[in-house]
Symmetry: C3
């Protein structure tokens, strides 16, 4: 299926610069642009490629100013990356969706399955599960007793959801994610650890996306809660009793220790570690590999382990490799100072 630049601009409420009749039928990256494809320019690092790309159409932000001729037709829009997303979503929607219950699945007679639900082979739907309309449970997934899954939710192959978890609507959970495994809770008796049964659950609200092999533990009592719109990348650990605020996003391999609360609209870089029983104020940004060991007030921008303000971090990082030289410099100065003192005293 092919679209003209004019059709695309109309769909996106954009403006055509160049030939409105040129057509594209798929997407390519700007640096690998091929004829008959559409590409986009959103990250300024890639600007130079727009003058060389073989793509026939490039989505750009309205404020883009060209300083050389461009072979491609431009479509100017308010937000090139969002517009790309809208186009890709249109294509995505045209892919046929799975439907129905495949023969080699297990669905408990006590489960309640909505309309247009897909349940793949080797998926296990335990007692008292509720799956609402239009949700898709891919093969090899496990949905434990009493789990509730909302509408239009996608559970990719091999996800495991322990008993009592509550999953909202329009949620996406990628392969290998584990929702509701026991929190890491023990009481110590001498050197021996005694397990504290984890009797709570996990609640995942609407519009959450959870990456591959991410783990979210059930609470000891009450709930571990992932609020609406949270986006978690792959291989993230959310410990028991945590609460993650609306629209907070975390890059891969972040680890959050138990009973910590991260408020809304925070952004955590990859491999960040956050200690237990603390609160990260809303709108905070924590850079990759940072370690957080105490409460953070809202709107903080931190980096380092332990973390401190980003603007200081880079300055200090420049000094650290110089420390051996600085130390030598100090010791030389100290000797010179002693020498001067000695001389002064002699002079006195």
């Amino acid at each position: 299926m092919a679209y003209t630049a004019k059709q695309i601009a109309d769909f996106l409420h954009g403006e055509v610069i160049g030939n409105p009749d040129v057509t594209v039928s798929s997407f390519s990256k700007i640096e690998e642009g091929k004829p008959n494809t559409l590409t986009f320019l959103a990250n300024p690092k890639y600007t130079s490629y727009i003058y060389e790309t073989e793509s026939d159409i490039v989505l750009v932000n309205r404020d883009f100013v060209q300083d050389k001729p461009i072979k491609a037709t431009l479509v100017k829009v308010d937000n090139a990356y969002a517009a790309l997303g809208a186009l890709m979503e249109m294509v995505n929607q045209s892919i046929p969706k799975k439907n129905g219950v495949e023969g080699m699945s297990f669905v408990s007679s006590l489960a309640t399955i909505g309309k247009d639900v897909y349940i793949g082979s080797f998926a296990y739907i335990a007692d008292n599960v509720i799956i609402e309309d239009n949700s898709k449970i891919y093969p090899n997934s496990y949905i434990g007793d009493n789990v509730k899954i909302g509408k239009n939710t996608i559970i990719f192959p091999g996800v495991k959801i322990y008993h009592d978890s509550i999953i909202g609507s329009n949620v996406i959970i990628h392969s290998g994610a584990v929702i509701g495994a026991d929190g890491f809770g023990f009481s110590r008796n001498g050197n021996v650890y005694n397990k504290i049964p984890q009797l709570g659950n996990v609640i995942i609200e609407d519009d959450v996306e959870i990456g591959a092999n991410t783990t979210i533990d059930r609470s000891v009592m009450g709930s571990t809660i992932i609020h609406k719109g949270v986006k978690l990348d792959n291989l993230i650990q959310i410990a028991h009793n945590c609460e993650i605020g609306e629209n907070t996003a975390m890059a891969a391999q972040v680890g959050i220790a138990g009973s910590t609360k991260i408020e809304e609209n925070c952004v955590l870089g990859g491999q960040v570690g956050i200690g237990g029983h603390i609160t990260i104020g809303k709108n905070s940004q924590i850079g990759a590999q940072s370690g957080i060991i105490s409460n953070i007030k809202e709107g903080s921008e931190l980096l380092g382990s332990p973390a401190y303000p980003v603007k200081n971090f880079f300055k200090s990082s420049i000094i650290i490799p110089k420390l051996p030289d600085i130390y030598r410099q100090i010791n030389v100065m100290e000797k010179e100072l002693a020498e001067l003192k000695r001389k002064m005293e002699t002079t006195d």
Copy 2:
């Protein structure tokens, strides 16, 4: 089912402060306390909540001293957190246990299955596997050739245990954990890596708990060994040929490189990394995100990457953000010193 404060105190050998006849039927966190629930106070950070909680019963340590009136009935015990665990375990035991072999599982005719074993649908039990009495193999798990699993062990959904692994009794392995995958062993020939077959196995002793998506690699020869009572959180990597001593505990996302030995009773914080071929002495505590690159003597308390003693770490961490200022200070001093020297020489 409801219990009175008196019944609970009797069960826990505790002392009732307040109304012995008040009843509870479930648990809640102290900061979210609800009527008809029991809660606990173990972490002093939460003390203020005891004066406001709506819970009807609070487990506290015997040395707890109240400085204001408390609405709830207190039950004083030696260790509130352990007592909570005992109560929760009582509730946990009352949950009916799965039993029997579900129809859509695969059990090799060469496997030996004990009494009261549960094998869920889509679980795969390969040749020569031995599963002892009372163990539970949840759906979608894979138990490879020659694996032996002891009594009362729980293998949660989607665990994969490679051939020849030996798993003890009273072990818990959470979803997505992989036991016995090949160690990362190659010999290099120019730029090409040639695989060294990993012909050893993994041994997991009794009373071990292994978190979701944790990976423990088989040894190249001999065994990777996880000793009795070890507790591993989620997303941990244990490389080939490692040995983890009794009752050592590791928080999530720790990584241990090959052939390293961690002795008994150690505690490793989240995201710690330990190099290969080294020994961590018993009773050591390694703080979160630390990196260890050489042998550590017993009883060490380390933090940082590379790690050094905890008490120094926090002092140095305060200095690091000041380094740019300190560097300026030194350079000013150096100039002043040069000026003084010049003057002295002029004066001479």
Copy 3:
């Protein structure tokens, strides 16, 4: 099956030092050497064990010089570790291989399955999948629509490969790995994240090994590419649009952010984090736990977060714990300097 030292030396083109007729039937580590086993000495850290080992045969490098009597027979070879690999591979090849399609698997009628392919129970082979000769798909794995798998490739239990992925020949993918899950791509609209559909795929070339629970995301468009001979350990994250060059090796828990290119023959230590949209030049070595935030030129040897040259890293690491003392020293010096200045001025 037993082999004499002479047979082993002949196979390896090695030289026997000692009794050529002694026989071994398995392997053991040098520090746990047992009679009737073969061991090896490759890492000089273990040299002292050669004088005590109970193993009957030890593979050593040709340049090994003994300084005390050794009970075992030595077999001298060019590269003891590689020779061990060759012997172990001979043993490995003698283990019978799985074959055929097990009854409880699902294979789409639209899939194309080559000769001598193994498909285990509860494996799901979706529409238009192509699996070439001799490849093994273990139980509980998921192979999505349009996936192509080359010859002699092993997919261990519970691997999930999303639609459109292309997997080469002689590839090994360990349990729990997830290939082709959606990249972490969103456009932000106020505080809300809108998903950018990820319409690209993952390409894994020949001779790649991928560890347990490692995740490799599909690209937004075009391909995430893992080139020939790459070796990835467990729990690694490769984000969308990345390209990993030939024969690059990564230890466990490394994380690579989106659109980053790592050139050939690089080595990344455990828990390294690499930012997005950057290039790591070929032949670079990045030490464990390092953080990389900008382009790195070829042949770099870096360590730290943010990383700097290895040789400086260890020097600075020695200074960091002394910073509190150094800071005190500087402040003392500053006072002394001020005192001297004051005196000089008085003297003037």
